[in-house]
Amino acid sequence: MTLRVRSVDEKGILLWATGNEPLDVLFDGQRVWSFWTGRDADIPVVPWRRFRWPKPLRRYLDGTTKVTVRTHVTGRVLSESELRFGSADRRISVVNAAGAPLGMDKSGKMTATFEGRSQRDMRPLLDAMSVVLAALERAGVEPFLAYGTLLGAVREGDFLGHDSDADLGYVSRHEHPCDVMVESFRLQRLLRREGLQIYRYSGAAFRVDLVEDDGTRRGLDVFGGFMDGGRLYLMGEVGEDFRPEWVRPRSTVTLSGREFPAPARPEELLRASYGDSWRVPDPAFRFRTPQHTVDQLNGWFRGGSAFRRDWQRAFSRFRGQPPPKGASALAQLLHEEEPTETQVLDVGAGRGRDALWLSRQGRSVTAYDYVPGSLDGAASAAAAGGASLDIRQLNLTDLRSVLGEGARLAHGSAPRAMLARHVADATNGFGRESLARFASMALRDGGRLYLEVWTGGGAPPPRLLAVDLTQMRRRLERHGGRVVRTEELEEREADVPPDRAMEVGRLVAQWA
């Protein structure tokens, strides 16, 4: 098996390689990327193999650095050279905003990995793990270390250098996915009662967010699982033949000098998670979960937060910033037609431009979105100006969220109007059904829904899906709404060029 580095330049690394083994790439001694010489090659049958600098790393490449290429398993240095990228006269620094070194993780993102951290640095994470494990235990499940954290404990007695988070898991006593989810909802409720913040990924997995003494936020993933018919299913990657005695009674493993719970046979869970080669270090590991398992887990547990990640990403760069000035034509129409004392519910408020504008017109406004933090900027701006803007979370693809908030509103008696601009076209069919249901619950004592969607014509707007206006109309009517106005118009924001204009449909529906 031959392995030689032919060149390292601004484009990438050229190898002469015939086998398949993991290599690390270091910048000034810091691991920034790992790859497999065979698996990740464009054409593995050819020994000349070029590996381009991966996209997430490229944005850091401006300046000089000492590039080291070495084998991951033995640490043998294959090449070391001083290299210049771009024109900047400085050393390349691959760090995040807080100055923590970044390396590529298994999902291909540049992440602050555990590499180079001291035992002292890891103490807050170990403490956080103990807190969450104890809380889960009190809530009635039997948690253990899972995935990379279990792998690190079993193989090295420590965290894996190229890992970046801690994973916990449990196997439910239930055998039916529905019961597993009901249990997961109950766990969330109990953990919440203990003061922990929860961010739900799916019906059987969530993240516990802890705020440490110095204000650092830390998220721990908790993956639920269950056994049925001699198979273990563990969110989000495992669906394998498994024996109950490999799960319980739990054993213990040592991680960074502390004891933690593990499944009865940790090596069997590692085999189920990573395959037979789990003992071989792999800094560039990628899950190859069989499509059937993915379909099973998706079908049972996912679908309660459709498109949320895309919207989260879209809003993340505006975090904390006030929304743009002004208001949409639809918000202005609502303001003209509704008496000032009418309370406004802005569903899918996004960054809160319309909600903030309406609250500044002296209205009481509740802004709903399912992306946490998207409305922070609008909330601060409203608070600073003394406007009445209430921020609440609403997830149209989670029935509990819609029914829970609907029940809260059903009790109130204030005159209301609902604004739903580009929300029916930002969700799926279930979300549209939920929107109609939510409107009927909130407006059943009388009130109007002002809705706008992209109908498919003109320039396709990012993240929106075309909605058929007639179908939307029928949907609202099924939920008791009487459509009093239907319009089709061209919508163009002031700063958008004419060729980016899109065709929108507008519906105004009246309840009671």
């Binding site: 996915p177 679908g303 989670d398 029935l399």
Partner: protein, 70 residues
């Protein structure tokens, strides 16, 4: 084998890919019911049961607690 049986069998074979696709879609649809059923069970146990108490303070507290726990 009668001719009509051969025709029947050939037709069944020809339709097989479509039947598999339909079955897959049906299975997915059934799997999806788990999440919605779990959500409804949660709403019934956490919200509907307290609502039946007809005590407004208890109802308000249950709704608030439920919404906070999502």
């Amino acid at each position: 084998m009668a001719l009509k049986d051969i025709v029947k069998r050939t037709r069944a074979r020809r339709d097989l890919p479509q039947r598999v696709a339909d079955l897959e879609a049906d299975v997915l649809e059934l799997r999806r019911h788990n999440l919605r059923l779990a959500e409804i069970v949660d709403v019934v146990t956490e919200l509907v049961v307290p609502l039946s108490s007809r005590d407004q303070d208890k109802i308000d507290a249950a709704i608030e607690k439920f919404n906070e726990s999502l």
